[in-house]
Amino acid sequence: MSRFALSLRMLRREWRAGELRVLAVALAIAVASVTSVGFFTDRVGRALSQQANILLGADLAVISDHPPDAAIEQEARRRGLQTAHTLSFPSMVARGGHAQLAEIKAVSPNYPLRGQLRSAQRPFAPDHAGGGIPQPGAVWLDERLFAQLEVQPGMHLQVGKSSLAAAAVLTQEPDRASVVLNIAPRLMMNLADIPATALIQAGSRASYRLLVAGEPRAVEAYRSWAAVRLKRGERLEGVSDARPEIRAALTRAGHFLGLAALTSVVLAAVAVVMAARRFMARHLDSCAVMRCLGARQSQIFRLYLIQFLLLGVAASVAGCVLGYVGQMVLAARLGSLIAAPLPQPSPLPAVLGVLTGMATLLGFSLPFLHRLKQVPALRVLRRELGPVGRVGLAGFALGLAAVAGLVLWQAGDAKLGGYVLGGLGAAVLLAALLALLLIRILSGLRRQASSAWRYGLANIVRRAGGSVAQVTAFSLGMLVLLLLTVVRGDLMQSWRSTLPPEAPNRFVINILPDQLQPLRDFFRARGLAAPALYPMVRGRLLAIDGRPVAPENYADERAQRLVEREFNLSWAKRLSGDNQVVAGTWWAGQAGAQLSVEEGIAKTLGIKLGDRLSYDVGGTVFSAPVTSLRKVDWDSFRVNFFVIASPGLLENFPASYITSFHLPAGAAALLDEMVKAFPNLTVIDVAAVMDQVRAIMDRVAGTVQFVFLFAWLMGFTVLFAAIAATHDERVYEAAILRTLGASRRQLLAGLFAEFAGIGALSGLVAALGAGGTGYFLSTKFLHLPYAFDYGLLPTGILAGAAAVGLAGVAGCYGVLRRPPLQTIRNNG
């Protein structure tokens, strides 16, 4: 007990003396970074498990792309279960001069079976539950749609062939697909109104849900009954597998943000090494004295170990509190992923955070504490004696293993973890090498500088090791921030500039065969060229060369989704200009039934030239060989198809038509007239979709930026650790310089030069790294020409120099306040 009390007392003293603050701050930030992500993913995970039935709006849902058999529902009712129906599809909604694509959801009475709808009288008015569902003849819109259509409560809107009244604002819908993934705003209506709208025709793309709820055992029994009666295009979603899209997004976000958060842990390790080394250097004398006073080696080790453990726990707990605050920011940005309120997090992320903090602290400070106990007692008589040798990389094996373990665990996959470790190692190594090279160049340049700058730059060169560590830490944090701001903008810009200005900006789908000529006339009557109209038949891929196709045969998620859904098939005589045959030949004349497949999807699904594909279109099966593979320029924004059939194969199946055209700016009235004339058409605004995608990207980037903010803060912690490590030296130098007649101003200028130099070097390394990463991303992944943004260099250098320069001078200010005589006397 007395040893613990002694450790505690010494810890308190060390804390007051400022010895351990950097260490504590580094740990707290690292733990905050890890736990903010941990708490957030934990909360969403708990919402998914505790409120799964609310998020489903039921205990079980039968989901299908066609109306479910009446027998399925009858059986549920026979078993005493409650049922409700929903039907969702995209459609145009119009009012006055506005036409807007909306995500329509038609619901039956009883909906939702679990959870509740909330609505408000007017946009931004307080909402309430218990209003049932929209009455027949009425619709509820979300706030976004109210704004886009400039509609007031009570006004009528055109939905298909019906005119319905906007009755209320829909504020919460338990089973809504996450807002993040939603492109179009919501319109909710009564299922009874659907036939009158004439929006649902054969071949329309819509999602049907039969919701079921009741006593758990009855639901389970019904599930078993239904599971074996599912047909193609039907699936069950229960509470244990509810919201797979959110679960997948959450898992991915958890891994990704978790890895991003670990950047701070890696940088914290640097700060811990610096601070622990200084702690060791400053405690050699104390240890020698204690050895003289009869302390055993193990006693000294334990004394300091207990101090560090106490400090680690306290700093980690503080980090958890910070992390809890941080997760609120994440929840505000990404919490709308689900409609249900997020429950409080479990304590598990805090435990993991504290463990991470302790592993970092002990892994990187134990080697120094171990050194400390080895100090010879004779040092009390001979100051020059100390522990021999340096702590090499091998000494940190424990710490490095801990960090590697954390990365692998966060990645949740050995391969990804390996890539991240490799990438992080390479990034650190590259940044360090670049920093070293730049410091070399700097040492040649300093002769040309003024005296203050010469002194400052000389300091960077003289403390090359510490300088490299600081530049590396800062540049990694800055690299990511530059990447997410400047480079991201550049890539968007360069992609947009590859699009021709007259590229189609509207897609029109759901055109019925008898509307082809009226639509052509509609365009001609307004002085516009009639757009090309392409037929579209929906068919399900049954087999490739006789082998039945099933989602479970594919490991790739995209492939699974593709075979589960119906394909859009088309037919054409000639190959269009943005297509290019890369294998086989395009048909000519009356060559018989053939198919041409886009090369990307062929690769995903494992389709080869010559394979026979079998499709089911509305119950009729046909098959034909693949005679060509095509490369498609999707950026042309023209209508294109994955699979095209030769003429004569599909003409007898029910088809709808699709087209794309360029709507000139200021011609929005055309759309309004078109929706009035052809209410069943769905117009997709490419620009609006792009805006949505960009908004989602901004939100994701903002979240990632927030996580990397911790890494950036950690850069400053490393800076302060480095300043603390050189504090005594600086105090002594400043005293000598002042004795030699240097003014305070000159000293300040010298200090600023040194830190601004470090910051400028970091900015340079970060700018080069961000530019290089941008080049890699655009050429390897996005296939876009990349022009290095020369603005990156001044941005990085100036921002780095200003931020680090000022922080450095602030950190050293105490050095200048000490009277030189006192300093020299103490060191004499």
């Binding site: 003293r13 050895r291 009869g294 302390a295 055993r296 006693q299 007692a377 009390v380």
Partner: protein, 222 residues
């Protein structure tokens, strides 16, 4: 306390250099001995060996009948903690601890229960009752050395080793510190070995020895 044929050799630039050459020394309980010598004569080496802080090349040191170098380093540390007190030229107080905590430290390291009461009593004895909660940097040189003396005596050592205890103090302060040191020495009946090059100070010891060419000679008649 007895040193027998104590030898210390170091290798300097490849050539062996003998600092202590088969040195013999016997000090009796309660005796006070001054070891004089020029800078570099090996005074500090001798003191380090007598305290078991360093290992000799040959010979042995018996402390209260125990052969110091038959013990391992931790064993010697435990023995030091029980039997030996130190006073240094540079005081060597722990900067992070207050005056009182510095004095308590050796007792706490030995696992004593009433550390506080004993430390308070000794601090009172050295005249620093009012300075308990001051940190070393808030004390003058003389006060720091008095804290160091209190720390040395708090364990009731059988042997007190002092290395130039007045080296960092002006002569008037040094005088007062020395009075205190000898006063306590007498009260506790401690054996005192004092290393110095100050003849004035050496004269206050009962026996004076001079270290020269690795051997001790009588300096009483100089």
């Amino acid at each position: 306390m007895q040193a027998v044929a104590l030898t210390k050799q170091v290798t300097s630039e490849g050539a062996p250099l003998t600092i202590l050459d088969r040195l013999d020394l016997s000090v009796y309980p309660g005796e006070s001995v001054a070891v004089l010598g020029a800078s570099g004569s090996g005074k500090s080496t001798l003191l380090g060996l007598l305290a078991g802080l360093d290992e000799p090349s040959g010979g042995k040191v018996l402390l209260d009948g125990t052969d110091l170098f038959a013990l391992d380093e931790d064993g010697r540390a435990a023995l030091r903690g029980r039997l030996v007190g130190f006073v240094f030229q540079a005081f060597q107080l722990l900067p992070a601890l207050t005056a009182l905590e510095n004095v308590m430290l050796p007792l706490e390291l030995a696992g004593a229960v009433s550390a506080r009461a004993e430390a308070v009593a000794v601090l009172e004895r050295v005249g620093l009752a009012q300075r308990h909660s001051h940190y070393p940097r808030e004390l003058s040189g003389g006060e720091q050395q008095r804290v160091a003396i209190a720390r040395a005596f708090v364990v009731n050592p059988r042997l007190l080793l002092a290395d130039e205890p007045t080296g960092n103090l002006d002569s008037a302060t040094g005088e007062r510190v020395i009075d205190l040191l000898f006063g306590l020495n007498e009260e506790h009946g401690t054996t005192l070995i004092l290393v110095t090059h100050d003849e004035q100070l050496a004269r206050r010891c009962r026996r004076r020895l001079r270290l020269e060419s690795g051997a001790l000679g009588d300096a009483a008649n100089e």
